[in-house]
């Protein structure tokens, strides 16, 4: 292919975003689920504001992880059902780039709203402004990694009728490092003397690594699912 990759990637990105925003896209449900998870946790733990402030970053991170897992089956499923995926496979363009673009659109539609919602939900959890900022920043850097790793699971389970539960089981072990360093960096704002820069840098590294492994492995899995 001699054409420059940027124009068609932009077209694809616009298409994906438009589809996810419109009726049937379901991009907003993830934020609602996030809200539901954060609301339900104090009922289990009790309304202890000090405890909530201490574990608040962890609650927000786990909520964001669950909300991301919930939305992942949308990544390739709809395109496979209506045949778009086959067209993308046959178009002769680098499938890795297609997957990366789809992941970017998916993150903009489902991951970014979680990041934006995090400070608001932080109020429920009695987070101080500094902790709120730390959680939001780590989510901003870390949720792309969750989407990109999750894309592998979504690509592997795309041919299954109800792959959502299996997808979560496959993705969770791979997402553990992201969760560890995300929560660690966010907790640095709460506990004096814990490092912020080191876990934050590792979190960035994990996102970059996922940007390589995720599209390559997902493209491979998608090719195998079609033949």
């Amino acid at each position: 292919m001699s054409e420059r990759p940027l124009p068609w990637a932009m077209t694809l990105l616009r298409r994906e975003l438009r589809l996810s925003m419109r009726v049937g896209g379901g991009a907003q449900v993830g934020v609602l689920f996030f809200l539901a998870v954060v609301t339900v946790i104090p009922f289990g733990l009790g309304p202890d504001m000090n405890l909530l402030a201490r574990i608040g970053p962890a609650i927000l991170w786990i909520g964001a992880l669950l909300a991301t897992l919930l939305g992942l089956d949308r990544l390739f499923q709809a395109d496979r059902d209506d045949g778009t995926l086959d067209l993308m496979l046959m178009a002769g363009r680098p499938l890795e780039l297609v997957v990366l673009t789809k992941c970017l659109a998916h993150w903009l539609a489902t991951g970014l709203p979680l990041v934006v919602a995090a400070p608001v939900l932080g109020i429920f959890l009695n987070l101080q402004p500094l902790a709120m900022g730390a959680v939001t920043l780590t989510l901003l850097v870390g949720t792309p990694a969750l989407t990109l790793i999750g894309a592998i699971g979504a690509a592997l389970t795309v041919s299954l009728r109800r792959g959502g539960l299996l997808l979560a089981v496959l993705v969770v072990p791979l997402a553990i490092p992201v969760l560890i360093f995300g929560v660690s960096a966010a907790n640095a704002a709460l506990v004096v003397g814990t490092p912020f820069r080191a876990p934050f840098a590792i979190l960035c590294a994990l996102s970059l690594l996922a940007a390589v492994i995720g599209p390559v492995a997902s493209a491979m899995a998608l090719r195998f699912s079609s033949d």
Binding site: T157, S159, L160, L166, V169, L170, P173, P177, A221, S225
Partner: protein
Amino acid sequence: MAILDYANPTRFLRLTQIVLPWLTAACLAAFAVGLYMTFFVSPEDYQQGQTVKIMYIHVPAAWLCMMTYSIMAISSLGTLVWKHPLADVSAKAAAPIGAAFTLIALITGSLWGRPMWGTYWEWDARMTSVLVLLIMYLGLIALWRTMEDPIRAGKAAAVLTLVGAINLPIIKFSVEWWNTLHQPASVMRMDGPTIDTSMLVPLFVMAGAATLLFFVLHLQAMRNEILRRRVRAMRLKAAAGSRAARMAPPSSPLSSPMSGTPGAAE
């Protein structure tokens, strides 16, 4: 290419039929020696008493749960890169064995931990990563079970196995980092600084016996998988044949979907 000679499943079946009895005998002999040494030769630990003998099961199981994953990762490379026809059979056969060894390592570890640490479970870095490994094994097995076509399932599982192989060191590193951050005081070691020779020899014998057990089980499971696929292929062929036979006589075309009950097809 020696490894390509065994790409032929029939040749593989013939070869393993010769090898397996000898391998089984060697495995049994190694276990007999190893267990004898464990119970009658190796001394009790001056601190741990009899419970130190759990180590002779636990350490080989822990070593094998990692070796099995390495074998699965190499097999997955064989599936994706060289398209070796037995590679996905090998990976599929290894997964349940690896899961079993992982489970044994976890169970014996917690049985040992109860008298030693006073708790069955501790979020120790090593235990946590083994637990994550168990989840990955079970996820892989679940992925194999959800796809009907063994070739397609093998390719999907190979992708996931390799992604897991890249991620396992990262998971292990991050869990260790997390653990030291949360509980800096708890440094728990299975052994002291060194192990005495009187314990090291039985440990090596048991590790060798367990490795032999893995290869016996693995080869046998591969044989079963090959035969299972043949049965599946024959069934598909028979089903296609009976359908063709049912469709072929044009005497009663109207009744063919209704009268095609399994009883009538026989």
